[in-house]
Symmetry: C2
Subunit: 146 residues, 2 copies
């Protein structure tokens, strides 16, 4: 059975400090992808003494043990989210930036097969698709510019 993130931290020999618990809980509770600064600001509301360096250190530790992943697509600096066991696909509109979550069991299965064929043990996957959302397609076809 999959143990909680807390167990994972301890099982890897890291200490379960409450700064780490706090940061983790913020990441888990957030639907958006936070960057270090945003995370720091949120964390500070619950622990005004927490340091930005600790946020960075925690993120790098979490990343090392696979609790989170960094997303750097189209952004200027790193954004983080917890790794969910359900891999998801992000469609980002190149015009308005809106993100749509997609999912497909079939595709996930095929990707897993592809990895097995190559003898790669998959831990996580993220599919990042860029293009035009329905609204922006509409806009583009309306403004009939050359």
């Amino acid at each position: 059975m999959k143990s909680s993130a807390h167990e994972t931290i301890k099982s890897k020999g890291y200490k379960l400090t409450h700064q780490r618990q706090l940061i983790l809980s913020i990441l888990e509770g957030s639907q958006t992808h936070l960057d270090a600064e945003a995370l720091f600001l949120l964390a500070k509301r619950r622990d005004p003494k927490i340091s930005l360096a600790t946020v960075y250190r925690s993120l790098s530790t979490f990343k090392k043990i696979g609790l989170i992943q960094e997303q750097g697509f189209g952004e200027d600096h790193g954004h983080f989210e917890t790794v969910s066991n359900k891999p998801h696909f992000h469609f980002t509109c190149s015009q308005c930036g809106q993100v749509t979550e997609l999912r497909s069991k079939k595709i996930i299965r095929l990707i897993k097969e592809l990895c097995q064929e190559e003898d790669l043990k998959m831990e996580s996957m993220d599919l990042l698709i860029q293009g035009l959302c329905p609204v922006c397609q509409e806009k583009k076809s309306t403004s009939t510019t050359s």
Copy 2:
């Protein structure tokens, strides 16, 4: 018909400077994902006067018009590559960091279908998979540490 990157730059109203041509040609010629600094160093070999700021500015322009994409996965800062019409899948080993390129016509087709179902017009896709490469799986099973 798809016009070349040069055409794209001009068609978007940007000037085709030779710094931009140089940077683009390096990106196109490179198989790896370069970061701004590496790109700068390479560019300097052909144009010793080029400035790092120009590299950054070009990258951001290219990104805006969709010529390149930024990859920030697992790295500390942004890496870039030209958007190819052939989407590819990256498998990154979480232990050694080695990248394996994968490809699957079937998966690409399914992803396209998925987008069509949702009325999303795809421009590019990138599948980022993380896990253990064969070598690191071997290592892990050998060192039978609790």
